[in-house]
């Protein structure tokens, strides 16, 4: 159908032409005009408190205390359950967030600008491993780290990013892919390259050596530091491709621990949701699938632009880590995702695939026709709030989302 092919070509061009650049770190309230008191942005498609999973509720309670809207966690949970807290998806406000994806007014956010289309996207700073809010953690140690990110780390790194005149992200991703990252469950190379670029600027702009050392160590000790930057990059790249009538290209994939949701270019802001699946993967010592929460997070935005599970061939070590088989089988994931995408990204290539570009532009028609669904590399959270990550794995997007979208786009185009 010519209308669809033309629209898809336009959507793909917009994705490939994106020029993402990290330009700042700014408190959320200054970036998102609609973000106010007693309002929380979360990962995934829209969801109310009564349908939220354990880790999401745990993170909400922690965020409420962090913002000072309640004195303690039980009071915070009661406040949230009473309807006093407003919930919205990050995606409705130009933002994304990993796992539970909490975004509240005082949290510092990475600002990524797409110079080609003059749009911006935001993501909170990665908190590191262990007990963290993105996995539902909410105790004093979690809130103390968030306060440090807000008061010390965010302003320090923001100053350095501004002094550097921003950091080009496409080139870091290209190098990371050649160094074993797939940008979802492995960000070691990109985090290291980022640190190499920003460290001199942090040294130039910091006035306190102790703070400087603390901030450098925080980045250096977190292999996943770059993930949140990559997520904002994914959002800023896909947003301009949304809203092209007739286009069957996926512009959003995300999950909230209860539902998986997608949005499709030709259908704008409309969500197509289905129950989210349980990741299949490996568990840390002492945990098993009985402890696992169904998948969650806005991080599937990296798969939406051809990274993560789509770029598994670049990161054979990850295949073992997420329980996806032998490293030699990593290429099968990338080849399989090539069946449901319309192109390869010539700027992001994979050496192990003879420098083929990462599969880009998920076409809902190809998904439904083939039955091959997007694969997403993911962390696994404990089902109870406050415990944190218990493993890592691979999760499949539910086919039902794509089937619903096919029916909707057919209706929109008058096809029956």
């Amino acid at each position: 159908m010519k209308l669809i092919e033309d629209a898809n070509r336009q959507a793909l061009t917009r994705i490939l032409e994106g020029e993402p650049r990290l330009i700042d770190i700014v408190p959320a309230r200054e970036l998102i005009p609609g973000l106010r008191e007693r309002m929380i942005l979360h990962a995934g498609p829209p969801i109310s408190w009564d349908r939220m999973c354990g880790p999401m509720r745990g993170a909400v309670a922690g965020a409420v205390v962090f913002e000072g809207w309640a004195q303690d966690l039980p009071t915070a949970s009661r406040l949230a359950a009473s309807g006093e807290i407003e919930f919205h998806p990050n995606h409705h406000f130009g933002a994304v967030g990993p796992m539970t994806g909490m975004t509240t007014m005082s949290m510092p956010l990475f600002v990524v600008e797409n110079a080609r289309f003059s749009n911006r996207a935001y993501c909170a700073i990665n908190e590191g491993l262990g007990k963290v809010m993105r996995f539902g953690g909410n105790d004093a140690s979690v809130l103390k780290r968030l306060a440090w990110l807000r008061d010390v780390f965010g302003p320090t790194l923001g100053k350095a990013i501004r002094a550097a005149g921003g950091i080009d992200l496409k080139s870091i991703v290209a190098r990371g892919l050649s160094m074993g990252d797939e940008l979802h469950q492995r960000n070691l190379a990109c985090s290291s390259v980022f640190l190499r670029e920003i460290a001199p600027w942090m040294a130039r702009t910091s006035t306190d050596n102790a703070v400087l050392a603390e901030c450098l160590a925080f980045i250096g000790q977190n292999d996943q530091f770059f993930l949140n930057i990559a997520m904002a990059m994914g959002k800023v790249i896909t947003d301009p491709a949304n809203g092209i009538r007739g286009s069957t290209i996926v512009t959003t994939m995300c999950r909230n621990g209860t539902d998986f949701g997608i949005r499709v270019s030709g259908l704008g802001e409309q969500w197509f949701t289905a129950p989210v699946e349980m990741p299949e993967g490996l568990y840390f010592a002492g945990y098993s699938e009985k402890d696992a929460n169904p998948d969650m997070g806005d991080s599937a935005i990296v798969e939406t632009i051809g990274l993560g599970g789509f770029a598994m061939a670049a990161a054979p070590a990850v295949a073992g880590f997420v329980g996806a088989g032998a490293p030699s089988e990593a290429g099968n994931f990338t080849r399989s995702m090539g069946e449901i995408t319309v192109a390869q990204n010539p700027e992001w290539t994979i050496a192990a695939m003879d420098f083929a570009g990462v599969p880009t532009g998920i076409d809902i028609r190809l998904v439904v026709d083939s039955g091959v669904v997007p694969v997403i590399n993911t962390g696994i959270a404990h089902r109870e709030p406050g415990i944190g990550q218990v493993g890592a794995g691979v999760v499949k997007a539910p086919l039902a989302c794509f089937q619903q979208a096919i029916v909707a786009i057919a209706e929109d185009l008058g096809v029956s």
Partner: protein
């Protein structure tokens, strides 16, 4: 009776058999267990065999 006089299917089976298996993978193991070379083609009908969805996809250009 010469080979040429046999029905075609018998001629086929008189030589070494090589199989292309399309779709259900379950047949592959049985054939390989009999020492037969098999190339498996991972194929499914469009839309998992849902005729309405397949028809819709065809109209949408798949």
């Amino acid at each position: 009776m010469t080979d040429q006089d046999r029905p075609q299917y018998q001629q086929l089976l008189a030589r070494k058999v090589e199989v292309v298996n399309v779709g259900l993978e379950g047949f592959v193991k049985d054939l390989r267990d009999c020492g037969i070379d098999v190339v498996h083609v991972d194929w499914k009908p469009s839309a998992g065999g849902d005729p309405q969805m397949a028809a819709l996809l065809a109209k949408l250009g798949v």
